[in-house]
Assembly symmetry: C2
Homo-oligomer: 244 residues x 2
């Protein structure tokens, strides 16, 4: 199930006092998102080096102790799985921790996506942490990137939905530590069902397709959305980042 | 491209002196692998909490500084993408940093795989770091888990290969923080091509399929393997973990 990682600002009130309060809220939200992205950057670097390091075992154990200490600090205040992150804007499609695109996610390369006419274009570079066969990306990583990009293409075309089918064809291995370029476009819309197609290439050679994929997405009926997500509530632990 | 995450011990010599040297090497290798897994555990916890935390922005920035410091320590000695990790045993299918199964990978849940007769069974629990739609796993994560498991099934049946096609069908969303069970089995072998099929369910309700997949894998011809992996060499930075 892909979901959009697009940026969008929350709606602002036009009443002067409300606007002032909203402005303070916005500044706090921007500051929080910047801090989340800073931590995301640091963790991506740490996670990447953890898959590449050859330092002695005792140093690995010392770093593990540091990581546990850092985890304890983050664990002092957490959301549950029925609460949205305080810094997210689900309606606006802004999700800080998306495991493919989220600037706050240590799992995400992250994939950067832009709309280019009818197509969407994604760029990323995969480090050693994504290694499957020696020197190349794990096939599942390519599927994950393409699922996200195809879903984004469907959303960008006005048909957001959940993935119902993803077909990925691997034509050649995907090199690590090499700038990649992914493109996707909606190819068919039938009622609530949308099909998008996409490719993955290196940025240097966009004509040689390494992986291609097609995905089918379906928009939820209101009763399905209510059943799946009716229990989700905005995070209430940090009122300063709540917004309309 | 899936690759096996199976455990296998390196071959031991039977000459007494060689056996003694091998035993010291084995002890060092076991110690190194244990330290890698300890760091992997700590990083998975840290990464998971980073997607769940609601601590104030200044704490996020302090933890980011700690993470950068830890990364610097790991970065003092690293492999390149043409070097294998010192603790890996590629021929034996043992890979510490596989992004799905590796105990040393902060990206991996990790998925634990066991052979059960003709089938292979995988188990894992996905934390908030794998969230796509609120409270459910990202569709790409399910594809990644299944790619790995299907490839493992092909390997376990004696037909290791690279993924050429993966088709994933999503029947229902996959809940986070819930023990999952995946199964896969080879369904067809035609020359160098092997097809495997698999499913993903919750452990509590293995009869309700949430995601199903089929994958086609192809074994490399020697000249293909030489072209793709001929430049890969065992890591030479830590002789104590070299083994036959």
């Amino acid at each position: 199930m892909a979901d959009s990682g697009s940026m969008s600002e929350p709606g602002r009130s036009h009443h002067p006092l409300a606007a002032r309060a909203a402005s303070t809220q916005d500044a706090a939200l921007r500051e929080r998102r910047a801090a989340i992205a800073e931590l995301g950057d640091a963790l991506r670097e740490l996670v990447g080096l953890a898959s590449a390091t050859e330092v002695p075992a005792d140093v690995l154990r010392q770093v593990a102790a540091q990581a546990r200490q850092a985890a304890t600090r983050l664990g002092r205040q957490t959301r549950t799985r029925t609460e949205l992150p305080g810094a997210d804007d689900l309606a606006g499609g802004f999700r800080m921790y998306n495991p493919v695109t989220g600037s706050g996610s240590a799992l995400a390369p992250p994939l950067h996506i832009e709309v280019a006419g009818r197509a969407v274009v994604g760029t990323c570079t995969l480090g050693l942490a994504y290694e499957g066969p020696p020197a190349f990306a794990h096939g599942g990583t390519s599927a994950m990137l393409l699922d996200q990009l195809l879903g984004y293409a469907a959303s960008a075309a006005g048909h957001p939905g959940m993935t119902v089918k993803l077909e990925t064809r691997y034509l050649a291995p995907v090199p690590l530590q090499t700038p990649l370029r992914l493109t996707a476009e909606v190819s068919e819309v039938t009622g609530r069902h949308v099909t998008a197609r996409g490719t993955l290439t290196t940025a240097a050679d966009p004509d040689t397709v390494l992986v291609e994929a097609s995905g089918e997405f379906v928009s939820l009926r209101p009763e399905q959305a209510a059943r799946l997500f009716g229990g989700i509530r905005p995070d209430a632990t940090d009122p300063q980042v709540a917004h309309d």
